[in-house]
Amino acid sequence: MTLTRARREPRWQGGQRAAAGVSLLLLASCLAACRLDMHIQPRFDPYAPTDLFNDGRSERPMVPGTVAHGHLRTDTLLYTGRINGVVADEFPFPITAADLERGRERFNVYCTPCHDYTGSGRGMVVQRGFQHPAPPSYHIDRLMKAPVGHFFEVMTNGYGAMYSYAARVSVEDRWRIAAYIRALQLSQHATLDDVPAPERGALAGKAP
């Protein structure tokens, strides 16, 4: 993504330049910025374009074969969702209540537009026409039985009409979302017996 370098110049264009010029001329006491040399410094802001390189990007792609600090991917379960090539049904790190909460938040940001808050697959964007194919409900038998590694893989690589979310959701967050999807699946099939005994009274008679 490149941004045209608008910066502060718009203040000094056309009519504005005339207006600024007039007030400058008339007012010896002009306190407004008259010098722009510090406004635009010889450095690259994020996404700033450049003509230094042929592709016009100041952000340089990695030299092939290099590994950035902290990006060595030795943990195959964490990064691929597989153990010895088989889709795993376990998490690479223990899931705490905080992880589940983070998973809920990320799910609501990145997945609900299509999959809906409950995982029904009837999100707002689907209702506006994203239906060829529409996402499946998470509560169908096949996905209930799918190992957690499958959800990780879908997010990482995309799945059919669904694009990959790897660029926007970090590896750890993808596992947390997978955990939250599991929790959603369980919640849709919970019975009164799953509720802790002291809380059951509050629900009695309200279950559909």
């Binding site: 941004l3 370098r5 203040r11 009519g15 510090m38 964007v125 694009y163 926007r168």
Partner: protein, 219 residues
């Protein structure tokens, strides 16, 4: 000795003194108005974009969270603009025939990124950071206006130094609960003063002395 000046010069002198003062005051006022006006600050002026992107449709009508597109806003200085691929996660199926979206499809095919026109920009000698503001309960709409009502994006505030300082002196007037930060439309509650003071304490917001010292923003 005869008087050098005719009596009428008394009036002329008075008129030129008071008139001069008035003229100066008037000019000062006019330049103040010009400096505040969109003519000079670009605030509230809709800009021409390669694609007429509507925050109103995408956030309020379709319920998409800011972070779906502005991914890095919580964790870095820069909020980030969505890549073409992010648009395509939906527009691979939606509005696929709309001429309006032709630049998106072209960009996706060629890999040439879409050149959005910058709406908000600070001079390079100012340090700004999104993540700290988000983390301390300053909502997007406080600085960027009600995005949920914008059919095309404009700059809501002047981004002048005194605008920053005004809030750094009185954060309690603007701070909101963290869960409300990303709301595309937000109006402060009636008890903002009281809520604000409570949140400033709860979120451990730094003192106005620290937040208004020059090296906070000019580093």
């Amino acid at each position: 000795m005869a008087q050098i000046f005719h009596r009428s010069f008394n009036t002329i002198a008075r008129v030129s003194i008071y008139g001069g003062l008035l003229l100066l005051g008037g000019l000062a006022y006019v330049s103040w108005v010009v400096e505040q006006s969109p003519l000079y600050t670009d605030a509230k002026l809709p800009l021409v974009q390669p694609i007429p992107f509507s925050h109103k449709h995408h956030t309020v009508d379709d319920g998409i969270d800011c972070r779906y597109c502005h991914t890095s806003v919580e964790k870095s200085a820069f909020a980030g603009l969505p890549s073409t691929e992010t648009c395509m996660t939906c527009h691979s199926q939606l509005w696929t025939n709309a001429a309006m979206l032709e630049p998106v499809r072209a960009s996706f095919l060629t890999g040439q990124s879409i050149a959005w026109t910058r709406v908000n920009a600070l001079p390079d000698f100012v340090y700004f950071n999104h993540s700290i503001h988000i983390h301390k309960g300053i909502g997007c709409t406080t600085c960027h206006g009600q995005l949920g009502e914008m059919p095309i994006t404009w700059k809501e505030n002047t981004l002048y130094m005194r605008w920053c300082i005004n809030c750094h002196k009185h954060p309690e007037r603007y701070i909101r609960r963290r869960e409300d930060v990303f709301k595309p439309i937000y109006d402060p509650p009636a008890n903002q003063e009281e809520l604000g003071r409570r949140l400033v304490k709860a979120y451990d917001v730094k003192t106005p002395t620290y937040l208004t010292s020059c090296e906070t923003c000019h580093r």
